[in-house]
Subunit: 254 residues, 2 copies
């Protein structure tokens, strides 16, 4: 079946079996090489990038749809996806322009409403445990530095911005490093992650002091070897203490 | 026009002119007599209470719809409404049961989809400045203590719970008293508000110390007179300092 035919089947199925005028978009954050990254898809036969997204079946909860869409579109399974915002502007993007760019069927031939409200989900993942895979709609699925995103399809640059803002607020009451970092990490790595999310430099001495004062990370005897500089110590989150502190609301980082 | 006819016109208009299968629900919090309250509507000719809600016009942003719905259904104008969660479970409530209770037209006679996804908004208001008014769909619009809500229509008890949870989290990085309290208030009043939202008792001496350390409230020379006990001092928020601290993220209350 050629791609045009596949697209027609895909949209006809959405028109028939999905909640009309609703979609889900997923912002998947990872952290690697001291960079906060986001997972993007390049649509088939184009240079156009966007977030993984899709539609909700009529008998499916929106949360379950988000998990399914992420799995189908990137191969990633069972992430902790967190709903963060619903994008409901009356004009979110130019529908005809997007359809043209992506070689989609003419919107006027579809039963779908004239606008789509999208429910945004985000997740923080351990970069090293994820193998992004393109699906039949796309040629490529890969990580991009948050600080150097291309101009995205739909209103997806805005969606990423709102997800980042949510992450920034969340930093003030829960340490996000827990999900984004590998099991063992150095203090400069953790600091760099915080700096990227907060979008401002932090003082290393203060940062280390504050983080350790939270009582949820422990310094290991191991050091990270092989770098050009003095080998830094490795740390890891103490999951029990972390859970207890989160429950008691004692994790503010200001 | 009798009520049955009015209802039919109302739903026919929604089927024709609104985004199918979507609604908005508003949780309006106020604080009075040392109680956190929420605004509820009693549907005409019933003893059934629910949140103010409604539908979104096809060419209207969801944010604008939320403002309009609140105005139409309660008479309250230009509140700062904050989107907090979209309720997208596949079965949120028993549709036939709700229609029967509210004397609504049989759902099978409508063009509306079989389920409705609802976008939740909340607002914090100065209780004394609001005059709730019932609309043509309802007999009564009034405040209820959050701690003593009746069994609500739809999934509205759950919606209020999620709004409260959001408020609790928000307390850790922004003082909600600013919107909920009248201009001048006593420290015990502020503490009672925090206790209601956090759902746990707080130590008066610690509370006062922490709140004053944030540097955003000032003690006035005035005292609240007329009570049975020692007259407590009045306080007010310093709006300039509040805005500055919020921008700098220095308002954690833990």
């Amino acid at each position: 079946m050629d791609y045009q035919k596949q697209l027609q089947v895909y949209f006809a199925e959405a028109d028939e079996n999905c909640l009309p005028g609703l979609s889900v978009d997923c912002v998947i954050f990872g952290f690697s090489n001291n960079q906060l990254k986001v997972l993007l898809l390049r649509w088939k036969d184009t240079e156009e990038w966007g977030l993984p997204g899709g539609f909700i079946y009529k008998n499916e909860s929106v949360d379950v749809a988000a998990q399914r869409i992420l799995k189908e579109r990137t191969g990633i399974n069972k992430l902790f996806l967190q709903q963060f915002h619903t994008f409901g502007d009356d004009v979110r993007y130019n529908r005809e322009e997007v359809s043209r760019k992506l070689h989609w069927p003419d919107p006027s031939t579809r039963r779908w409403p004239n606008r789509t409200v999208s429910i945004g989900y985000f997740a923080l993942v351990d970069f090293s445990k994820v193998t992004p895979t393109a699906d039949f709609l796309t040629d490529e699925c890969r990580w991009w530095d948050v600080e150097n995103l291309p101009s995205l399809l739909f209103d997806h640059n805005h969606v990423v911005e709102v997800a980042l803002k949510t992450l920034r607020v969340q930093l003030s009451w829960q340490p996000v490093g827990y999900n984004l970092l590998p099991e063992k990490f150095t203090m400069p790595e953790l600091q760099r992650l915080y700096e990227t999310i907060l979008n401002r430099p932090l003082d290393p001495r203060n940062f280390s002091k504050k983080m350790r004062a939270l009582g949820i990370i422990e310094r290991l005897e191991e050091q990270r070897r092989g770098g050009a500089y003095k080998s830094p110590y490795l740390f890891r989150f103490d999951k029990e203490k972390y859970k207890k502190a989160l429950k008691e609301g004692n994790l503010a980082f200001t």
